[in-house]
């Protein structure tokens, strides 16, 4: 087991696209770190560079104390799990798992022992003599894991290993991977585009965008203190509601105005976000998480300054929560970040964003308690937990007041923006 250290890692492909830009990253020994980001953010390239399947244009990668830039993949003492499993179709499950050991000229008994052990851990004993095509998707996935485990490597590299499974199996395998990783305590780098997977699995989550590091931190840190608009919009489901707003200092306190509404900003927020004072009277981007809003009727007697009226356009009952969709009288935030976030969701989301922009009416989602009586078309007053408002600088997209503070302690900080 070893830590993995990336310093100034840059990858420029032959067609001159820069996939990764001066990435600094420390993967602590025995931890599971998740690289997450929209497609094309360079996360898989980073993983392939660690594996040695892709050359570095610049920078160094070290596994343990050893710089491995020039070390071929097979000698890096790492094991990789591929998105489509990449099992050798002409070999049995046993042979698939044993191949790397055979290449290393291990003794037959040792190979046998390791394969048996891995098969026990993964409940694959009865499939050892079968070929991959006779197995289900979940079983193949386990074989791919087994092939990695038998190596007893210094690090596991996993490239979206669950993306080919159906939703139910994915959740099951996710906890399986987590269990195995905790048992074996092998340093693991895990790539996914699924933020739920990232949040639930990772000791540390690394958010990448266009080859640039956005933020490194625990799930909670990313959720509570996103370094910038991109991370704020990317982490959380449903996504954070974003709108252009102005912060004004008035008699009796500071408030934020957006789309004809006004919310009081509590003094504790101002204290925590000292930079906010500099934005007095200037536009900011206000972020409100759906779960930080509540049906006003369920919070009787709350401060009128934390409420604003809306008209429900769509009600989705989830059983445990109710999602209320409503429109606000302001255009959606159109920055490069929000466009990219939308395009990651899909073409339809981009189209919707553009429609909302042309109509100058953004759609918000509030996640309220199941007792809410709010119904379609009815006016509702929403209560906002004003202590959990997010503010971003429209020019740079940086979080106002804590962008720098949120830089992770145990991992190298964000890069030059």
């Amino acid at each position: 087991m070893a830590e993995i250290t990336l310093r100034g890692v840059t990858k420029v492909f032959a067609d001159r696209t820069e996939a990764v830009h001066e990435l600094d990253l420390d993967v602590p020994d025995g931890k599971l770190i998740v690289l997450v980001g929209p497609s094309g953010c360079g996360k898989t390239t980073v993983l392939r560079m660690i594996a040695g399947l892709e050359d570095l244009t610049d920078g160094t990668i070290a596994i343990g104390d050893r710089v491995v830039n020039e070390v071929p993949p097979g000698d890096r003492d790492i094991a990789m799990v591929f998105q489509n499993y990449a099992l050798y179709p002409h070999m049995t499950v046993y042979q698939n798992m044993a191949l790397s050991l055979k290449i290393r000229k291990l003794k037959k008994e040792e190979i046998h022992r390791r394969v048996r052990d891995a098969a026990d851990v993964l409940h694959l004993q009865e499939f050892l003599q079968k070929r991959p095509r006779e197995l289900s998707g979940g079983q193949r996935q386990r074989v791919a894991m087994g092939r990695a485990i038998v190596r007893e490597p210094q690090a596991f590299l996993m490239d979206e290993p669950l993306s080919n499974l159906d939703a139910k199996l994915r959740v099951q395998m996710r906890s399986e991977i987590l269990r195995i990783q905790k048992d074996l305590k092998v340093t693991t780098v895990y790539v996914t585009h699924d933020q739920t997977e990232a949040m639930t699995l990772g000791d540390l989550v690394v958010v990448l965008r266009k080859g640039q590091l956005q933020q490194v931190g625990s799930s909670e840190e990313l959720y509570e203190r996103p370094a910038n608009l991109f991370v704020g919009g990317f982490i959380g489901s449903p996504a954070m509601n974003l709108v252009e707003a102005t912060v004004t200092r008035e008699e009796g306190g500071t408030s934020v105005r957006f789309a004809g509404h006004r919310l009081r900003v509590p003094s504790e927020v101002l204290d925590a976000r000292s930079e906010l004072a500099a934005f007095d009277g200037r536009p900011v981007i206000l972020g409100i998480r759906p779960e930080d809003m509540e049906d006003g009727a369920l919070v009787p007697g709350s401060d009128p300054g934390s409420r604003f009226p809306v008209s429900v356009a769509l009600r989705e009952g989830m059983g445990s929560d109710v999602f209320l969709h409503f429109q606000i009288d302001a255009p959606p935030v159109m920055t490069e970040d929000t466009r990219e976030l939308a395009s990651d969701v899909g073409d339809k989301a981009v189209q919707e964003l553009q429609e909302q922009a042309s109509e100058r009416r953004a759609t918000f989602i509030a996640r309220v308690g199941p007792e809410s009586r709010a119904s379609l078309g009815s006016p509702v007053e929403l209560h906002v937990d004003a202590r959990k408002l997010y503010f971003f600088d429209p020019a740079s997209g940086r979080s106002i007041g804590e962008g720098r503070d949120a830089a992770p302690v145990h991992a190298a900080g964000a890069l030059a923006d």
Binding site: A51, L53, P72, P73, G74, F82, Y88, L99, S100, R147
Partner: protein, 303 residues
């Protein structure tokens, strides 16, 4: 044929109205099958008729005319089975020729499989400077007819002192056959690249990836190449005719041709020899036909 035994006439009489639709459907399916088999039998007959004619001729005694005014398609009298024995022993050293041909065929198959799979692998899986240009050059060489190369190649092999040996018939296979390289490359390109990556992480070098991963997965296309080489070499007349001068080294095709070129061709024996010659190719096809059809279907359509 099973459906035909189901006595469609009985089923065609409807007993109750509700079943009428089903019965009609069945009747249609049966008649469709009957038509299918009729067509297939017809086609098979067309193909087998000449063979049957050859058998008729092969069973005739010496000097009895073979080319009758109305062709005798089917053997009427099974008189001279001995002709087959005579072909194998008396008329020419047939077994010797068989062995000779087998030597050339097996060596050629080996050569084709080794050289073409290696070159195909390089074109399909390795990145190297000029690979595209080289591949196009290779494709272009397929356009040069063998006849154009015949004379210079002959001069070259004579110069090398290979005239009268099997080397000119075998060695070219070891230098690669453009068409097979093309087939193999196309096939290998369809094998997912992730397998190479997985193998590299597993510690395999390029040679091991070729030998342990790509080659075993390419058996369908390799079978196609092997069978084609077998057929071409087995039936090849021109090559042995040019390069072999010693009677004891002749191939089967050459032996057959020599039978015909005599002034008084013993047609009955020639036809018997013909039939015997065909047996190995039929056998080969019989045993590998599944792989062959699968292989041909999977080759070159993708990638």
């Amino acid at each position: 044929m099973k459906t035909l035994e189901e006595k469609p006439t009985e089923e065609a009489t409807p007993r109750e109205p509700a079943r009428r639709g089903v019965t009609r459907y069945r009747a249609r399916r049966v008649s469709y099958k009957v038509a299918m088999y009729a067509i297939l039998f017809g086609l098979t007959a067309i193909i087998l008729l000449p063979v049957s004619w050859a058998l008729t001729a092969a069973l005739k005694p010496d000097l009895e005319p073979v080319f009758t005014p109305t062709p005798e398609w089917f053997p009427t009298e099974f008189r001279e089975w001995g002709n087959f024995r005579r072909v194998l022993t008396d008329v020419m050293p047939f077994l010797r020729y068989m062995v000779n041909t087998m030597i050339i065929v097996i060596a050629s198959i080996l050569g084709v499989l080794i050289s073409c799979s290696l070159v195909g692998f390089a074109f399909a899986r390795l990145r190297f400077r000029g690979s595209k240009v080289l591949f196009y050059v290779l494709i272009v060489t397929m356009l040069i007819p063998w006849q154009a190369l015949m004379v210079p190649q002959f001069l070259l092999f004579v110069e090398l002192g290979w005239y009268g040996t099997y080397l000119p018939l075998i060695v070219p296979s070891f230098t690669g056959v453009a068409f097979f390289i093309f087939l193999i490359r196309q096939y290998m390109r369809t094998i997912p690249r992730d397998l190479d990556d997985a193998a590299r992480v597993d510690g395999l070098n390029t040679w091991q990836i070729f030998w342990r991963i790509i080659l075993p997965l390419s058996t369908p296309v390799l079978t196609v190449c092997a069978v084609f080489t077998f057929l071409w070499r087995w039936n090849d007349l021109l090559g042995p005719l040019i390069y072999l001068d010693d009677d004891s080294k002749f191939t089967v095709a050459l032996g057959l041709a020599n039978l015909v070129t005599r002034a008084d061709t013993p047609w009955n024996l020639t036809m018997a020899a013909n039939l015997v010659t065909v047996i190995p190719t039929v056998l080969v096809y019989f045993f590998v036909q599944k792989k062959l059809i699968g292989g041909i279907a999977s080759v070159g359509l993708k990638g």
